[in-house]
């Protein structure tokens, strides 16, 4: 099995996770910028963080044969400081020029405040202006339905390329409006607080596999990068073929992330080789 982990906070994980991911077939990860667990105070703190995930993390991942890509953003929780947000956003074009940075993320909403919505709009605007991809975080638990609705409202008021926008952390109550609006969506698999592997497979079976990404996020909180592999096992256990699994867990990330030419991993197809002839 070849797997791409499209949303993974490597900075918060040990090398052992890279090693075990490599052993289980993960060939690439993409690391969005996220909340550190406290509100950063200085623009330079963000810039050094972006440097860490765009310059150092690829070298750490490479030791295990894993390609590493990243995104830049000011997290929704930190959007309550609009001056800081603006000061950090000014530097985004420098990072868009880096060889493994794919776009803006994870932006999005937490409590759907006015500052958060304005920050989301500014993030999406700069991404569209520079031809970048966008990864949007939707709120957790009780805030999710309202926050997702607000995300869709903000985006509907902008001139965006919906194929280049990924709305993450969708669940059963939010997936349909996001797919119907033409965006990519992501299922984030957490042990307790977000979607689970079984529920993710239920949604894949109900909505099909187009424009769907599956990830385990995996950060400094209760999380497990191998919920992605659990999901693959559940998917296969229900009778879906290896190629169908590859379509979801490798090729869909290629299709979305590959819209940025820096992500040069191509979709793959499994072939059966019989004797000297190759048959599809």
């Amino acid at each position: 099995m070849q797997i791409i982990q499209p949303h993974y906070h490597a900075i918060a994980r040990t090398a052992q996770d890279y090693e075990r991911m490599a052993m289980s077939g993960v060939v690439a990860v993409a690391e969005p910028a996220f909340w550190a667990g406290f509100d950063r105070k200085y623009p330079e703190t963000f810039l050094d963080y972006f440097r860490q995930i765009s310059e150092f993390e690829p070298t750490r991942a490479a030791q295990y044969g894993i390609r590493h890509f990243s995104w830049v953003a000011v997290n929704p929780k930190e959007a309550e400081n609009p001056v800081l947000t603006r000061d950090v956003l000014k530097h985004f074009p420098e990072f868009f020029a880096k060889p493994t940075v794919l776009g803006v993320g994870e932006t999005g909403l937490h409590k759907s405040t006015r500052n958060e919505c304005e920050s989301l709009e500014a993030h999406v605007e700069i991404a569209m202006r520079h031809g970048q991809l966008v990864l949007i975080h939707t709120p957790h638990l009780a805030d999710k339905a309202h926050g997702t609705k607000r995300v869709l409202e903000v985006l509907a008021g902008m001139n965006v390329d919906r194929e280049r926008i990924w709305i993450d952390h969708v669940e059963e109550q939010t997936i349909r409006p996001c797919l119907d609006a033409g965006y990519w969506v992501g299922f984030t698999l957490y042990p307790i607080t977000k979607c689970s592997p079984k529920r993710a497979v239920d949604m894949l079976e109900k909505y099909g596999t187009d424009r769907i990404l599956v990830n385990s996020s995996a950060d400094w909180g209760p999380s497990d990068p191998f919920t992605l592999q659990e999901c693959i096992l559940e998917f296969r256990r229900r009778g879906h073929s290896l190629q169908e699994a590859i379509e979801v867990f490798h090729n869909n990330p290629c299709r979305f992330l590959g819209q940025n030419p820096k992500f040069d991993i191509q979709p793959i197809r499994i072939e059966t080789v019989t004797g000297a002839a190759v048959s599809a």
């Binding site: 042990p191 307790i192 607080t193 689970s196 079984k198 529920r199 239920d202 109900k206």
Partner: protein
């Protein structure tokens, strides 16, 4: 030992997760029945396990049960 408030707060998210898994299981069954119906198939031949599960959920939801819920469930599950 935990106070009542600590019990509520400590185990709420975990319990929420477990209930969502059960809800998803029942939705998954309904979806499978719907697919089978489209192919002129039928529901599961024996829905006793589902009936037991639904009775278990009633016991779990009881605010002032006569006996411990876990004991009642274990005795109920012993019938399948």
């Amino acid at each position: 030992m935990l106070t009542p408030s600590q019990v509520v707060d400590t185990y709420f998210l975990e319990s929420r997760h477990q209930l969502l898994e059960i809800a998803a299981y029942l939705d998954r069954y309904d979806a499978a029945v719907a697919r089978a119906g489209e192919r002129n198939g039928e529901a599961a031949a024996d829905e006793k396990k589902l009936a037991v599960l639904r009775r278990a959920l009633e016991i779990v939801a009881e605010p002032k049960p006569a006996a411990e819920r876990t004991v009642a469930l274990l005795e109920l599950f012993a019938t399948v």
